[in-house]
């Protein structure tokens, strides 16, 4: 653990690969939102206050004039239910955070930022400076990228053609590998993955994350062995996740 500045930059540097992949997605969001008739200011405002990539794409897809407020708010709750689980999980690692810092930190909670924060917590301790190094840099890229897209967008093409959308899955896979500790991790991942994929194929909406997470957590509870509730041994994963 270094000084506050060192921790902040360490967080910003760690999240760099995600920033590279986020920039074109943010541009695309701005472009699509502008095509739906939102003004550049409205697009920037949405990115800065809602600040949730997956939801914003879904919302823009459903957008109409006048805006269907009830539908959009309900969609926000459904698409973001996963954040409840992420907040509960990372909240346990926020022992160094003051009360206000916790509430502020949740404002910049994203899937990717959360995953990097979990990795940091697993490797040692998560400081507020490191967390906000991740959060602030991602927020800057997302808001400025979507504003830029709104203003200059068009003709950017589809980022998925260049594999940018897969970058997020690749980042998650790399972080997931660091969580491996024993066969029980395998059982948790197998049940979570199988249930998530099944629900994704059968149920519309974003329920698959909740369903998969509960399956994984349920498996862990079922496999719990008395006296085995210390932290899973850390040394096994040393060196697997160079940072």
């Amino acid at each position: 653990m270094g000084t506050r500045t060192q921790e902040f930059s360490a967080g910003a540097v760690a999240i760099l690969p995600v920033l590279v992949a986020t920039a074109p997605i943010a541009l695309l969001f701005g472009t699509l939102a502008a095509a739906k008739g939102l003004s550049a200011f409205e697009i920037w405002l949405m990115s800065a206050t809602v600040y949730a990539g997956a939801l914003q794409f879904v919302a823009i897809d459903q957008w109409a004039d006048p805006a269907p407020i009830g539908l959009l708010v309900f969609t926000a709750l459904v698409v973001n239910v996963r954040h409840i689980l992420m907040g509960a999980s990372i909240g346990r690692a926020m022992t160094d955070f003051s009360g206000p810092a916790r509430y502020a930190s949740m404002f910049v909670l994203t899937d990717e930022g959360w995953a990097f924060a979990e990795r940091r917590a697993r490797e040692g301790s998560l400081t507020p400076a490191y967390y906000f190094g991740i959060g602030v840099s991602m927020c800057l890229v997302w808001t400025s990228g979507s504003l830029l897209g709104a203003v200059i967008g068009r003709g950017l093409g589809d980022p998925s053609a260049y594999g940018f959308n897969f970058a997020f899955s690749a980042v998650f896979i790399c972080i997931l590998v660091g969580f491996w500790s024993n066969w029980r991790t395998g059982a948790v991942l197998a049940s979570s993955g199988a249930v998530s994929a099944m629900v994704y194929l059968l149920v519309p909406g974003a329920w698959y994350i909740i369903a998969g997470a509960f399956a994984g957590v349920g498996t862990a509870a079922a496999l719990h062995v008395q006296g085995d509730d210390q932290k899973p041994d850390e040394h096994k994963t040393d060196g697997i996740m160079p940072s």
Partner: protein, 100 residues
């Protein structure tokens, strides 16, 4: 600079709903005074959520994504994060060309 009232209300509503889901986890945390079996379950939350997020892409999108995910897993065990991610993205682009 144009701002439509309906649009503004929709954005504010979405922002509040989103923030609510983000802080609800902290409240949930205060309710769960964990030990034993519940502790094991909470410890499994990060990998379980991560897996649930990527499972549709990895298992239910296409052969190219599934193979690229497998390549990424192998790369993640041997290479630094940035290189492993780049390997994964490069392989999905190539595989999508090959498999369609």
């Amino acid at each position: 600079m144009s701002v439509d009232v309906n649009t503004l209300l929709a954005i504010v509503g979405m922002a509040l709903a989103t923030y609510l889901t983000r802080i609800a986890g902290l409240w949930l945390l205060q309710l769960a005074n964990v030990g034993g079996r519940a502790r094991s379950a909470m410890d499994a939350l990060p990998p379980a959520v991560l897996m649930a997020v990527i499972a549709p892409t990895v298992l239910a999108t296409g052969l190219a994504e599934t193979i690229a995910a497998a390549i990424t897993i192998v790369a993640a065990f041997r290479l630094p994060l940035l290189v492993a991610v780049a390997t994964g993205v490069a392989s999905v682009v190539v595989l999508r060309q090959l498999i369609g």
